[in-house]
């Protein structure tokens, strides 16, 4: 089966699954799936994807959903935003941690590694 991979991002939450590239389904089913999988069934959201030029395009009907799936190579990044926020825009990548936190953790861990040698 030829697969397309959907990588969904809602805030800091990422979810990923594969679909049959030739039978991705209808937009309504996809929308319900997203609402269920992200547990945002009671929210009004906007869904979009980035095309090859980096422009964020909406997904809100069968036609543009099908077009979006056809651009997956094989991964398609899909962005979900609440309606009522600013117009659909590519989210700033939310880093898992800052560089300073990384170095702090590195310092703490390296100190722990040296402790057994000091005790001896």
């Amino acid at each position: 089966m030829l697969t397309s991979v959907f990588l969904l991002q809602y805030g800091a939450e990422f979810r990923r699954f594969s679909v049959d590239r030739l039978k991705p389904g209808k937009f309504d089913e996809f929308y319900k799936l997203i609402m269920t999988i992200h547990r945002i069934a009671n929210m009004e959201v906007m869904i979009g994807y980035a095309d090859v030029h980096g422009d964020l395009l909406p997904i809100n009907n069968d036609e543009n959903f099908s077009k979006a799936v056809s651009t997956a190579h094989p991964l398609l990044r899909i962005f979900i935003q609440r309606q009522g926020t600013s117009s659909l825009s590519l989210p700033t990548h939310i880093p898992l941690f800052s560089l300073s936190q990384f170095f702090l953790a590195l310092f703490v861990f390296s100190r722990c590694m040296f402790l057994p040698h000091i005790v001896r």
Binding site: Y10, R16, R39, F97, A105
Partner: protein
Amino acid sequence: MLISDLDLAMTYTQVCEEVRTMCGVRKEMPITLKWIDDEGDPCTISSQMELEEAFRIYSRDPRSGLLLHVFPSIPEKPGMPCPGEDMLICFEVAVLYTTVTQYTKQI
């Protein structure tokens, strides 16, 4: 936790039970499973289809194992990270970096 030799026939429910047993998390406590995909994104697993995607990527290179992050919590709201998620992953990255550095010096 780094898992290798996975039984790819395991269901999401079975994986959760296995993880709870290995990590000593009681049944009534919530847990969240995440894995880092080949794009570097921490993907949540809370359904069978998401688990199958993680298994599919793992099976492309089984030697690398499947790194699962287990959080004994759930996000406060959809779209938020798990409590303590940033420092935990930061610590794991620091552990990995230090381990690799120490190993490289020994060679």
